[in-house]
């Protein structure tokens, strides 16, 4: 499997993603420059975290018009797997590849800390290797991760099992105390209708090495490698 990691001006988790793929022995990793017209021979695209274009206007609002996003949109339409992490998730929302939008965190602060996540849907290519009831530990680092969808969007996400991850406590209980940023229904990650595009605010690539405190992020990357 060849992972393509898109580098926008202002991306800062591109190397983390690259390193996570390599050190976990998940496959090859390549960087894709934001003004490239195509994705080469990549089998999966990662839009990494950071502050693309300085997060000016709205996080992800300008990055979504990068030339490479046309190629990513075509790739996704043909069923190619795409993961947007943190700023990458914000870009997917702005691009309309996932529904909803991000607001400032309810407490207005930038939050950088470990959180716990529960996989709500364990049938997707991104979550099928995650054990039931496992509370995944990994960091968040964002100021605009307060997920919003209108009632119709939320009903659709729930009815179709498209909520991928929700914030929970260390016992896997989803409650308001575990919600770091005010996201509706503790939503931390969602997938698209076709099941091949995932966006999540927490950073699985920063939780792939025991030295960093958790290897739970690997479960997401390893899920993709598993046969369906």
């Amino acid at each position: 499997m060849i992972y393509g990691i898109v580098v926008f001006p202002g991306s800062n988790c591109d190397y983390d993603a690259y390193q996570a793929i390599k050190s976990a022995g998940l496959g090859q990793a390549k960087y894709l420059w934001h003004d490239a017209a195509d994705l080469g021979d990549c089998d999966l695209v990662i839009l990494p975290g950071g502050f693309s274009y300085g997060d000016y206007l709205r996080a992800g609002a300008i990055a979504r018009f990068s030339p490479i996003m046309r190629a990513v949109t075509r790739f996704a339409a043909l069923g190619g797997p795409v993961i947007g992490i943190c700023n990458g998730f914000q870009i997917l929302l702005e691009a309309g590849l996932l529904p909803g939008a991000m607001r400032r965190n309810s407490g207005l602060r930038f939050i950088c800390k470990d959180v716990y996540l529960k996989a709500e849907n364990r049938d997707s290519i991104f979550t099928r290797g995650i054990p039931a009831d496992k509370a995944l530990r990994m960091p968040i680092a964002h100021a605009e991760g307060n997920y919003y969808g209108d009632a119709e969007t939320l009903n659709d996400l729930k009815a179709k099992g498209r909520v991928a991850f929700r914030y929970c406590n260390s016992d896997g209980v989803i409650d308001s105390d575990s919600n770091p940023n005010g996201s509706v229904d503790n939503i931390a990650g969602i997938i698209n209708d076709a099941g091949n595009v995932l966006g999540l605010m927490p950073h699985p690539e920063r939780a792939c090495d025991a030295l960093l405190g958790s290897t739970d992020g690997r479960l997401i990357f390893e899920s993709i490698g598993k046969a369906g």
């Binding site: 529904p99 607001r103 400032r104 309810s106 207005l108 919003y148 005010g182």
Partner: protein, 83 residues
């Protein structure tokens, strides 16, 4: 071609929580302005652009607002001449 100044104001839609507005309201109340019951924040863009007529300039600005300046999922916008 003439040049026009157009203002585009972007605000949260009704019903979308505005955490900055809420915090500013609380600060004002704490300062003793107890009559303040709500604060909404907004972004104001002043565009300078070339067009044949003001109507055309407004129409272009409207397009820009829909495409980039506002996120229609959570925001609404209004466009008008900047006096």
């Amino acid at each position: 071609m003439n040049r026009f100044k157009i203002r585009v104001e972007v605000r949260f839609k009704e019903g979308v929580l505005d955490p900055q507005g809420e915090t500013i309201k609380n600060a004002l109340v704490n300062l003793g302005y107890t009559g303040v019951s709500a604060v909404s924040t907004a972004k104001l863009f002043i565009l300078e652009l070339a067009a044949d007529t003001e109507d055309q300039a407004l129409q272009r600005a409207e397009e820009m607002a829909a495409k980039l300046l506002a996120n229609p999922v959570i925001e609404r916008y209004s466009v008008g001449p900047q006096k």
